[in-house]
C-alpha cells in the first residue's frame, strides 16, 4: 500500500493514464482513487493535459516517415565499418572472472602483505639497486676502504712482482710515478 501523497506524486509525475504509472505502484493508486476526491480531481486535471499534449494511453507508438527512414537505413548500412573481432574466450574469462577475483582478495591479506614489504624494506636485508650501482662505480681502492676490513700486509708476506704489476694496472695512483 502507498500513501495518498505518493499517489498524488505519481499522477503529477506520470500523468493521468494508469498505463503510464510505475507498474509496481499502479494497483495501489487505482485502489486509492475511488476513496479520494482530491486524487481523482488531480487525475482528471492530468488527463486533460495528457489529451492536449497527445500523450496516448497506447504508449510507444509514433508515426514515422517510412520512406525517409528507409533511405537513412541504406545510408547507415553503406557506411558500416569493419566489426571488431570478439575477444578470445581466454581474454573474456580474464575480464569476466580473473579481474573480479583479483579485486576480491581479502583486505586483511592485502594489508598483511603490505606490512611485510614495509618491514623488509626498513630492515635493509634487501639492498636497493642504487647501492649496487654505486658499488659498480667505485674504484678498487674506494671499494677496499669502504667495504673490506682494514688490512695490513703482514711483514712476512711476500709481494711478488706479478702482484705489484697487477696492482699498478688496477690502481696506478697507489704507487709512485717512477715505479
Amino acid at each position: 500500500m502507498i500513501s495518498l501523497d505518493r499517489a498524488k506524486a505519481i499522477i503529477l509525475c506520470y500523468g493521468g493514464y494508469p498505463q503510464a504509472w510505475p507498474e509496481r505502484e499502479r494497483q495501489a493508486v487505482l485502489q486509492l482513487l475511488p476513496d479520494s476526491k482530491s486524487l481523482s480531481d488531480l487525475q482528471k486535471e492530468a488527463l486533460a493535459l495528457d489529451k492536449y499534449m497527445q500523450f496516448s494511453d497506447q504508449l510507444g507508438e509514433e508515426a514515422t516517415d517510412w520512406q525517409l527512414d528507409q533511405l537513412c537505413s541504406e545510408k547507415i548500412i553503406a557506411s558500416l565499418p569493419q566489426q571488431r573481432q570478439k575477444l578470445s574466450p581466454l581474454s573474456m574469462h580474464f575480464i569476466n572472472d580473473g579481474y573480479r577475483q583479483i579485486l576480491t582478495i581479502p583486505v586483511s591479506i592485502a594489508l598483511v602483505a603490505s606490512a611485510v614489504l614495509v618491514v623488509i624494506g626498513l630492515s635493509g636485508t634487501i639492498r636497493p639497486n642504487s647501492i649496487k650501482n654505486e658499488i659498480d662505480q667505485l674504484s678498487l681502492s674506494e671499494y677496499m676502504a669502504l667495504y673490506v676490513d682494514d688490512f695490513t700486509f703482514s711483514e712476512r708476506e711476500v709481494i711478488d712482482d706479478q702482484m705489484l704489476d697487477m696492482l699498478v694496472f688496477l690502481e696506478p695512483q697507489v704507487l709512485d710515478d717512477d715505479y
Binding site: A46, F55, P81, Q85
Partner: protein
C-alpha cells in the same frame, strides 16, 4: 529476409549482428530507426541532424555487438541511451555554455504559447510544447509519456536516479500545465470577446 528472422527478438538479432549479419542489422533498424530519429528530432529540428545522431547510434551498435553482454537492459533502451548521450554531446558542442537544466535555454515561453494558439495541427502541439522545456525535462517526458519506457528504463537511459527522473517529470509537467492553462485562458478570453461583440 526470411520469415524466421522476422520473429526474432532484439537480443536474438543482436547475436546475429555480432557475427556481422547485415540482414539482422537492417531488421533491427527497421524496428527502431524511425523512433530513434523522432527522438533525436526532439533536440534537433532538422531531420538531417537527427539522422546523423541515429546513424552514429546504429553504427555504435554494430561495432559493440560482438562484445555486448546481456545484463538485463533491453537493446531498445541501450539505443535510446546512446542516442540521448549523442544528442546532449552535440548540443553542448553547438552551445558553448549549454546547461540541460537551465530554464534560460527557453528562448521565449510566450512565443511557444503563441505558436500553440496558432497551430491547427493537433500533432504539432506536442512538438511545440515539448520544445519549450529544458532538455532533461523534455527527455524524461518523451521517454515516459511518449515512448512508453518504464520509469526504471527511462532513468537508466538518462543515467539518473528514479528520484531525479520523477523530479524532472514533475517539473516538466508543471511547466506544460502552466502553458496549457494560459492557452485555455486566452482561448476563453477570445471566445468571450467574440460573444460580446456579437451581442
Amino acid at each position: 529476409m526470411n520469415k524466421r528472422q522476422n520473429q526474432k527478438d532484439d537480443k536474438e538479432l543482436l547475436k546475429l549482428i555480432a557475427q556481422a549479419d547485415k540482414i539482422a542489422f537492417s531488421q533491427l533498424m527497421e524496428r527502431h530507426l524511425g523512433a530513434i530519429i523522432l527522438f533525436a528530432m526532439r533536440y534537433f529540428p532538422q531531420r538531417s541532424d537527427a539522422e546523423d545522431i541515429a546513424q552514429e547510434t546504429f553504427i555504435r551498435l554494430w561495432c559493440k555487438a560482438p562484445v555486448w553482454q546481456d545484463k538485463g537492459a533491453s537493446v531498445k533502451a541501450w539505443l535510446y541511451r546512446v542516442a540521448y548521450n549523442q544528442s546532449i554531446d552535440q548540443l553542448r558542442k553547438q552551445r558553448v555554455e549549454y546547461n540541460p537544466d537551465c530554464d534560460e535555454n527557453i528562448v521565449d515561453e510566450s512565443a511557444f504559447i503563441e505558436k500553440l494558439m496558432d497551430t491547427e495541427d493537433r500533432l504539432a502541439v506536442q512538438k511545440i510544447a515539448l520544445a519549450a522545456l529544458p532538455e532533461r525535462q523534455k527527455t524524461a517526458i518523451a521517454l515516459c509519456a511518449i515512448k512508453g519506457f518504464s520509469n526504471g528504463e527511462a532513468a537508466a537511459i538518462m543515467g539518473i536516479s528514479l528520484d531525479a527522473l520523477e523530479s524532472l517529470l514533475a517539473r516538466g509537467r508543471r511547466k506544460l500545465k502552466k502553458m496549457y492553462s494560459q492557452i485555455e485562458q486566452q482561448q476563453n478570453d477570445f471566445e468571450t470577446g467574440v460573444i460580446n461583440d456579437i451581442s
